[in-house]
Structures are given as structure tokens and as C-alpha cells.
């Protein structure tokens, strides 16, 4: 349904050109959920906003690529055609539901506006529709909610309202950029459950962006791991969690605090800083932080190659070497501070 080919989204900044999205290729089918994970600054939001061109432009520009959506290349559409896609065929929800709602308008007005953006109807009809949307996203007093201002609602309610706005046009694709990061754990679980329920009800495809591997493990059919603007590994949750094939993914998994953690355990974080996207390192971008790096990694950028059915990874290490290196490292570290590598013990 959506096919992204060699997409680049660069940012023209004072430090030079920031390659926030660098040659990405992936696709998503109807009713499918894909998860995009990666550290802060890896380009997830820029990618998500590129899909419906919500990035401010300038400074963001698209030097290359295609976004094929039902036979059209979204990058080639006019502003007017894009307006017909946004909110109608592709919707988006954002990380912080408070700042994502206009503070000076009541919820009802903002929702009615979304409903009427793509469907000719009277205000009264739109209000009826808005009420049913609010009920649909699990708001118990929709009439009262309509009359409230965003700051009068709880974080979870606001995100429900955002979801109602996003679903108002019955989109084929919903892009959720860290929809639960700003919420506490119980509310997170409720929102994720809501997304899954609505997905099975309407058959919407979902791209969910997060740095919480637990979230994608539960929701996503396929996971893309992004590092410094590139996909470094792609596969099913099982591929990613049990057949990890890229050192960065492995480090990410190790950084998840395990429930079995005891007081003596160290939290493992990924050493070093994400690379400066204005002047990325030579060769593999992860090379400077990689525990398994060898001089060869510096020579050329690893290509994303197929290593199993639907499982792609960008690393020059082959499976055997990777496994043995992992074991070595774990053995070396297990001086009383052995840490689960995240398998099966993902916090949820």
C-alpha cells in the first residue's frame, strides 16, 4: 500500500546539510503494523513527517526518493493534492498530546474541524460524528469533553482526542510518532490497546514510532531499526529479538532494563554519542560505538542485505562471528553483573 523507495530527507541547517533520513527503502501492507525504533535523533520524526510532508520546508528538502501510495508518488503531489491525502487517507498523531492540540479552541471545535475537512456536512452532523468518534476512542463523557479546552483534560484523554481527530477521515494509514512517550505506564497500555482495537475495526495500517522496544514487540508485525538516518535492521519481532543481526540492535536490546535486574546489576547503556548527522563518520555509522568494530568497518558503508526471509541487516559480520563475539563479550562482562540481553524479559 505504501512503498518508500530510496527516500532522502535532508535538513539545511547552519551546521551544514543534516542527513536526517538517508536513503530509506521499506513498505507497509494493508492492515499491517510496522514499528520504527531508534535512539533520539535518529531521524524517526523527520521520516514520519516526510511521508505526508509535514516537515517545515525549508529547511527540510527531499533530494531523492519516492513515496508510492496507491499508485501516486506523494513527493510529486501539489500542495492541494497533499491536503486531500492528509487527515483523509494518511493521518498522524504526535508525541505530546497537550502541545498538539490548539490551546485556545475547545475540543469540539477542533474535532468538528477535522471531521469537516474532508466531508461535506453541516456543523450539526459533524458534531454528531464527533461525539461518536469520542465514544469510539473510549471517552466516557463525550459531550463534556467537546466543551473542554485541552488543558482541562488528562494526558490520556488528550491522546484519545488526538486519535479521534486522526481517525475522523477513516485513514488507510495512521502514523503514530511516539504516541505514548508522554504518558504514564498504565495510560500507555490503554492507548496501545485502543490503537490495536481500532486497527482491527477499521483495517488501518499503522506505522508506530517509539524508542520503547517493548511497545513494538507487542504491536508490530515488522520492526525497522533506525540509526543515524538509516535502516540498520529490519525484521519481525522474532528476528529482531531472537536473531539479532546488527550490533546496534543488540546494544539497544541490552539497554532495556530487565525485570530480573538486581541491585548489583549495572544498567547497560550504549557508550558514546549518536553521530553528528551533518558530518557522519566514514564507513559504518555505528562503527565508533560498536563493541565489535574492526578496522574493516571503516572502509565502506555496510549494505542492508537480506539474511533471512524478510530479515535485513546492515553489518559486515556474518552470523557465526557475530554470535561468538556476543558470547565473548557477555562472558567478559559477567563478573557478577550479568545482564539479560532483553530476550523475553522486556518490561511491559
Amino acid at each position: 500500500m505504501l512503498k518508500v523507495n530510496h527516500l532522502k530527507a535532508y535538513i539545511d541547517s547552519i551546521d551544514g546539510i543534516v542527513k536526517a533520513v538517508d536513503d530509506l527503502t521499506f513498505s507497509i501492507g494493508k492492515g499491517e503494523t510496522i514499528g520504527i525504533v531508534g535512539e533520539s535523533g535518529s531521524g524517526k520524526s523527520i521520516l514520519a513527517q516526510s511521508l505526508i510532508q509535514l516537515n517545515p520546508s525549508p529547511p527540510v528538502f527531499y533530494p531523492q526518493g519516492e513515496i508510492q501510495f496507491e499508485g501516486r508518488d506523494l513527493l510529486k503531489l501539489s500542495e492541494k493534492e497533499l491536503c486531500n491525502i492528509r487527515g483523509n487517507e494518511i493521518s498522524m498523531i504526535f508525541q505530546d498530546p497537550l502541545s498538539s492540540l490548539n490551546p485556545i479552541f475547545k475540543i469540539g471545535r477542533q474535532l468538528v474541524e477535522a471531521v469537516r475537512a474532508h466531508h461535506r456536512m453541516t456543523r450539526r452532523q459533524a458534531e454528531v460524528k464527533a461525539l461518536s468518534l469520542l465514544k469510539d476512542v473510549g471517552i466516557s463523557q463525550p459531550e463534556r469533553c467537546m466543551k473542554s479546552y485541552p488543558h482541562e483534560l488528562s494526558g490520556g484523554m488528550r491522546q484519545r482526542v488526538m486519535i479521534a481527530i486522526a481517525l475522523s477521515g477513516h485513514p488507510k494509514l495512521l502514523i503514530a510518532d511516539e504516541p505514548t512517550t508522554a504518558l504514564d505506564v498504565t495510560i500507555q497500555a490503554q492507548i496501545l490497546e485502543l490503537l490495536t482495537r481500532l486497527q482491527s475495526k477499521y483495517g488501518t495500517s499503522i506505522i508506530i514510532i517509539t524508542h520503547d522496544l517493548g511497545v513494538v514487540a507487542r504491536l508490530a508485525d515488522r520492526i525497522l531499526v533506525m540509526y543515524s538516518g538509516k535502516i540498520v535492521e529490519e525484521g519481525t519481532a522474532e528476528d529482531i529479538f531472537y536473531r539479532t543481526s546488527m550490533p546496534y540492535t543488540w546494544s539497544l536490546l541490552r539497554a532495556i532494563p530487565s525485570l530480573k535486574l538486581t541491585l548489583n546489576d549495572r544498567l547497560v547503556s550504549i557508550p558514546g554519542q549518536p553521530p553528528d548527522l551533518a558530518s557522519p563518520p566514514q564507513g559504518c555509522n555505528f562503527y565508533p560505538r560498536c563493541p565489535f568494530a574492526s578496522p574493516k568497518c571503516r572502509e565502506a558503508e555496510p549494505v542492508l542485505k537480506e539474511i533471512g526471509k524478510g530479515h535485513r541487516a546492515a553489518c559486515i559480520l556474518d552470523e557465526e562471528t557475530f554470535e561468538s563475539r556476543k558470547k565473548e563479550l557477555e562472558k567478559k562482562e559477567s563478573g557478577g553483573s550479568m545482564i539479560s540481553n532483553g530476550q523475553g524479559s522486556v518490561t511491559s
Binding site: Q49, F94, S100, P103, E113, A166, G169
Partner: protein
Amino acid sequence: MLRYVVNRIVSLLPVLIIVSIIVFLIIHLTPGNPATLILGEEASPTSIHQLEEKLGLNQPIVVQYLDWLKKMVTGDFGQSVYSSEPVTHMIAANLGPTFSLMVFALILTLIIAIPMAVIAVWKRNTILDPIFISVSLLGVSIPAFWLAILLVLIFAVALPVFPVAGYVPLSRNFLGGLYHLFLPAFILAAVETGLVARMLRDGMLEAVNQNYTKTARAKGLTESTVLLKHVLANALIPTTTVIGTMVAGLMGGTVIVETIFTIPGIGQLLIDSIYRRDYPVIQGVILFIAVVYVLVNLIVDLLYTLLDPRIRYD
């Protein structure tokens, strides 16, 4: 909310008291005996004495102030020493033209500033934005009297499209009145527009990058709807606060513009009274202007809390 209003009003009292002291002292700060100043050098000692008696100038200054303040508070602004008319009547008689002029100028300011700011933000990545900034800066820096003389020379003398001077009450002939008021109001507006448009533009540029604007775009709204509905509305709220400052500017401006265009307003009254050394009128007018200014700012503050739903004083 009521408590907030009461608090705000109470906090205005010190300001008003200070203003009243300054206004009261005007007559004593000017060098020389006030009675001589009013009557002129050739006045006989008896008439000077009589006037001092009449104005209470022979009493201790604190007593004079308290007496004066008591009268002011009860609405007795005294009488003109020139025409013996009550000062309050004179202010009331001159209020209409000034009020019309200021409201007209305010409306013109908004009519010019809002589209300017919207266009500057809409075309923010083009040459139009720097042009806008220069023009608004120019507007802020140009003195009103200079612009007034220039525009009179161009639009009333060289190209006689507008009258050089004069005033027609709007109640008598609305269109004719507006026609006479246009040039003076435009001059006042031109000076204020720079500030307001700049405030609006900055507010809109900030709102343009907010997440809620992204949401509005993600709904599929066109850029013009996004700008005119979501962005402008958010920028207008902080801009209301400059309207208070603007009114102060307009009042200063009316004094100049009314004199240039011979509009019988408060400003003209003030200037005439200064020439005539008519102290009770001068004091009355200045006090009146100060009170109006303070009240306008109070109203603007209250309006702000009404416009922004996030601010509530319970």
C-alpha cells in the same frame, strides 16, 4: 475572577496617586508665582491676591493637595480661569473628536497590521519578510508630526484628495466626518502599525512552529486556513497587550495631529490651555488622560484573561 479584578483595581491606586501628585505639582513646579503666571506680569497685587484666595494658593501645600484631590475624586475639576467654564464641561465637549479619531486610528491600525503580518508569515521564506521588517521598523521610527506634515503636503496640498484641516462631527455627517478624519487617523495608525504588525508577525512565526499547527496541517487543512484560523488566533492574544501601550501612543499622537489638522479634541484643548496658562484645565486634562490610560490598560488585562482560556483566576 472577581477577586482578581478587585486586586487589579486596588493595585492601580498607587499609580493614580502618584499621577495626581505630579499633576498637582505642575502649577507649583513652574517657576514664579502661579497667580502671576496666570494673570500676567502687569496684574495688580489685589487681583493676584484675589486669585490666590480663589485657588487656595495661600495655604500649606499639603492642605492644597488634599483639597484639590478631594475635589478631583468627586468629579469637580474646577473652572477654567480663561472662560470660567467648568473643566469637566470643556473635556466633555472635546471628547467626541478625540474619541472618534482614536477609534478610527485603532481600526485602521488593525486593518493594515493584520494582513501585513499574515502575508509576512505566509511568505516567510521569501524576500517579503525582510521587506516587511524594514517597513515596520520605519513605521515605528517615523515621528508622527513629520509624517503628518509630509502627508498633508502630498495628499492635501499637492494632490488635494483630502482636506487640509477641519472636523465634521460623525453624528452630523458620518461619511463626511470619516473623510475629514481619514488623514489624521491614518497618520496615527501609520505610527502604531509597525509595532502591532511586528508583534503579530513574531507571534505568528512562533505559532507556525508549534505542534498544534502541525496537527492542523495533518488534518488536511489548507495553509491559508491553518494561518488564518489557528496561527492568527494564537498570535492575536498576546498582541492585545500592546493595545494598551498603543492607546498611550495614540494619545500622545492626537495632541500633535489635532493641532496640525485643527480638530477640536482633547489634545487641542490641552495645547490651547497651555498657551493660555489655564492651569485648572491643564491639570484636569492631564489627569483625565492618565485615568483613561490606566483604565484602558486594566480593560486590556482583563480582556487578555478572557481571551486565553488557559488563564483563569478563581
